[in-house]
Subunit: 151 residues, 2 copies
């Protein structure tokens, strides 16, 4: 039996910050709180604009640096869809998944397939390739958008 003990993401943030000799700031905590609450796949710009309302002084550079830090810590995952813009989703305590992205409306459906993950692992082993991370994305039409255009 596997038990996941999930601490508050803010505690993990503080712990990671301390262990790296960094400093705890209101901006970092604010960004983590925001991302933990806002489900979805957000660009830096979206994060910036949403937070800027609450904290008027916030700068883009801080968002940029913080999401990079959070990615290293493992609190967020970076995903890149068809437009090539980096997006971030809160990852801490959530299982790995991949995406189907609708090229019309942009919605990102999430899927996970242990069978595919196993096959992946096997393929990598066969080549002596050490996988650090992967992405598996299907682009096309979601049910809603396919329905509209169908004959």
């Amino acid at each position: 039996m596997k038990v996941n003990i999930i601490m508050d993401p803010l505690l993990l943030l503080r712990q990671s910050i301390k262990s790296r000799g960094l400093k705890d700031t209101a901006q970092r905590e604010g960004i983590v709180r925001f991302l933990a609450g806002a489900k979805g796949h957000l660009t830096q710009e979206e994060i910036f604009k949403a937070l800027r309302e609450r904290e008027p002084g916030l700068g883009r550079a801080t968002v940029f640096r913080t999401v990079k830090l959070l990615e290293e810590i493992g609190l967020v995952t970076r995903v890149t869809f068809a437009d090539g813009v980096a997006r971030y989703e809160f990852a801490y305590g959530r299982p790995h998944h991949d995406h189907m992205i609708c090229v019309t409306c942009g919605v990102a459906l999430e899927f996970s397939s242990p069978a595919i993950e196993r096959l992946q692992t096997r393929l990598a082993k066969a080549r002596n390739f050490k996988v650090r991370w992967h992405r598996h994305e299907m682009f096309g039409l979601c049910a809603r958008c396919a329905g509209k255009n169908s004959s």
Copy 2:
């Protein structure tokens, strides 16, 4: 029994150009010839620089517009690795494949797995998602680079 009849890529290019009411140019043919010969995953800049030597007048904009056209025609496939820069590989007459990309040396190993493709298709069907294309990429260390750093 499946038979692949592969015509000369230049013939396919000319045919596609004509059917779209476009015009045949030396630049377009040159780019197709170059890509058909140069195996690998090339950026626009790499294509531009390599061809520029032969054809001094060539402009970046033409490379940009041509690879886009070739992608639509199906002569090339666009792939994007970890650095986010678009790369193009000649695809005509070659089977679909996905990639394992070494984050240290940049080499892109190609793999294909009918089993994974089938699972993908099934997952998409279950969501009524119509797949237009997909990408499946593993990032990590190739055997060579993993060997160097191992203890």
